[in-house]
Subunit: 299 residues, 2 copies
C-alpha cells in the first residue's frame, strides 16, 4: 500500500473500532443481577484489536452488504472471541492471569463467575444475530448464526482448543499444526470474512476467493502470534509472553525456527493478497490493508 | 387424567424419548479430534428424562406445528440443558461427581475437556436450529434461535446460576427465590413450550396461555426438585442428594418447610393446568399429562 492508503486505513480502523465498542457496550448487559453483567462487560469492553469485527465490516463494505447486519455479525464474532479467552485463561485450561493488559476475568471475579460470563457471552453472540426487528431480516440472521455456530463449535474453535490441549509435549508436523490452528483460531477469523460476505450478494467466485483469503489470513495470524510469543514482552502483548514454550506447546517457531516462521507468515499473507486479487471485488483495499496489519502487528 | 390416557401418555413419552435419543445421537459428533466428541456424547446421550424435548414436542403437537423443526428445537433445548449440567458440576461451581447415575464429565474426562465440551454443546444447540436445508426454513430457525438464546443467556439460565451462586448462605424471601428459579431452570423450561409453540401458528391468546403454562411448570419443577433433594436418595436421583442443604443454599423447603412446599407445588401445577384450559387448544392432553408427570416424579 502507498502512504495515502495507509493514512485512510488507520482512520477507517479507528472509526470502526469506536463504532464496534459503542455497539458492544449497548448490547452487553449492565444490569444483570449478581454481577454477571459486570464480568461480561469486563471481558468484552475497552480492549483488543477487534480484528474479527474489522474483517466482517471490511468484507461487508467490499461486497456492498447490509451494514446493520454486518455490525451485528462483527459484535457476535467479538463476543465469541471474548468468551473463548475467558474460558481459555481459566486455571483448568491455560491458567493465565493477564489479558489485554488487565487481570483475567477469573482473577478479578472468581472462576465460577468467569465460567458463567463466558457461557452468557456465547448465548449473547447468537442472540444479537436474531433480534427480531425490521433492520435485521430473520433469514439473514439464520445464515449468520449457521456460519458462527459452525466456526465456534466442535468442528471449529472448541475442537481446535481440544487438539491444542492434547498436543502439549508432542512434536506436531506442519500439516498437523496447521490443522489444529485452522480450527482453533482460523475458523473464527475465516468466519469473520464469510459472515461479512453473507451480508451481501457476492458471486460464487468472489465467495470462494474470500473464503481462501480468510483461511490464509487466519493461518498468518497464528504464525505471527507464535513469533510474538517469542519476540515480544508481556507489557507489549498485554498477555503473558513466552507461554507456549513454557507450556511445551508445539508452535510454528518451535517447528521451523524464527526466521523461517517469519518467511512462512509472509508467504501465507501473499496467498491472502492473491486470493483478494482474484476475487473480482471492486474495492478490496481495506481487506488488503487488514492483511498487511496482521503481518506487521507487534501485539 | 383417567387410566387409558395415562397408558397412552406413557407410550407416547417412551416413543418420543427414543426419537430424541436417536436424533441427538445423529447430531452430536463422534469423530471430533482429541476426544471432544466423546465427552460431548457422554454428557448428552443415554440419560435424563428429556423433559424439555418432550415439552417442545408435545406443544408442537398441540399447535399442529412443524414436526422436523420441533425435533430440532427439542434437541437444541436438551443440548443447552446438558451443557449447563456439565459446567454446573465443575469444581469451581457445584463440584459434583455424580450425574444421571454416572461420574460427571469432568471426573471422567478432566476439567479442561468438560469446559470445552460444554462450550461446544452450546454452539451445537444453535447450529442444529439453522441447518440450511429445505426441511427447516431459516426464518423459523431464527425465531427458535432467538427464544433459545434469550432463555440460555444472562437474562435466563446463566443469569439465574449467577444469582444462585451469590445466594449461598442467604435467607431469600419467596419472591427472590422465585425470581432466581424463573431464570435458572424456569427460562429454559418455558422456552421448551414457547419454542414448541413457535413451530405452529397458535393464536395470541393461546401463545400467552402456553407461556403461562411453561412458567408455572418451570416453577413447579423447581419446587419438586427442592423436595426431592431432601426426600430422595442419590441412587434414585442419579445425582447427589442433600446437596442444597449441604451447600447452605436457599430452597423452597428451607424457606417454607416440606409439607407446605408440597402444597405449593400442587398449587402452581393447578395454575399450569388452568392456563392450558384457557388456551383454547384442541388437544392439550399430552401437556396436561406432562404437568402431572412433573408433579409426580420421583427422580
Amino acid at each position: 500500500m502507498n502512504a495515502p492508503d495507509m493514512t485512510s486505513f488507520v482512520a477507517w480502523r479507528a472509526a470502526q473500532q469506536a463504532l464496534v465498542e459503542s455497539a458492544l457496550s449497548a448490547w452487553v448487559p449492565q444490569d444483570t443481577p449478581a454481577g454477571l453483567g459486570d464480568a461480561m462487560r469486563y471481558a468484552v469492553l475497552d480492549g483488543g484489536k477487534r480484528l474479527r469485527p474489522l474483517l466482517a465490516l471490511a468484507t461487508c463494505e467490499a461486497v456492498q452488504g447490509h451494514r446493520p447486519a454486518a455490525m451485528r455479525a462483527a459484535c457476535a464474532l467479538e463476543l465469541i472471541h471474548a468468551y473463548s479467552l475467558v474460558h481459555d485463561d481459566m486455571p483448568c485450561m491455560d491458567d493465565d492471569v493477564l489479558r489485554r493488559g488487565k487481570p483475567t476475568v477469573h482473577v478479578k471475579f472468581g472462576q465460577a463467575q468467569a465460567l458463567l460470563a463466558g457461557d452468557a457471552l456465547q448465548a449473547l453472540a447468537f442472540e444479537i444475530l436474531v433480534p427480531g426487528d425490521p433492520e435485521m431480516p430473520d433469514a439473514l440472521g439464520a445464515r449468520l448464526c449457521r456460519l458462527l455456530a459452525r466456526a465456534a463449535g466442535a468442528d471449529g474453535m472448541a475442537g481446535g482448543q481440544a487438539v491444542d490441549l492434547a498436543s502439549v509435549g508432542l512434536a506436531l508436523g506442519l500439516a498437523e499444526l496447521e490443522a489444529m490452528h485452522r480450527r482453533k483460531t482460523g475458523a473464527l477469523l475465516q468466519a469473520s470474512v464469510t459472515m461479512g460476505a453473507a451480508t451481501g450478494q457476492p458471486s460464487e467466485a468472489a465467495q470462494a476467493a474470500l473464503a481462501e483469503f480468510g483461511a490464509c489470513l487466519g493461518l498468518a495470524f497464528q504464525v505471527v502470534d507464535d513469533i510474538l510469543d517469542v519476540t515480544a514482552d508481556s507489557a507489549t502483548l498485554g498477555k503473558t509472553a513466552g507461554k507456549d514454550a513454557a507450556a511445551d506447546k508445539p508452535t510454528f517457531v518451535s517447528l521451523m525456527g524464527l526466521a523461517p516462521a517469519q518467511q512462512y507468515a509472509d508467504t501465507v499473507l501473499c496467498r491472502a493478497h492473491d486470493a483478494l486479487d482474484r476475487s473480482g471485488l471492486a474495492e478490496p483495499g481495506t481487506l488488503h490493508a487488514l492483511a498487511d496489519w496482521v503481518g506487521q502487528r507487534s501485539s
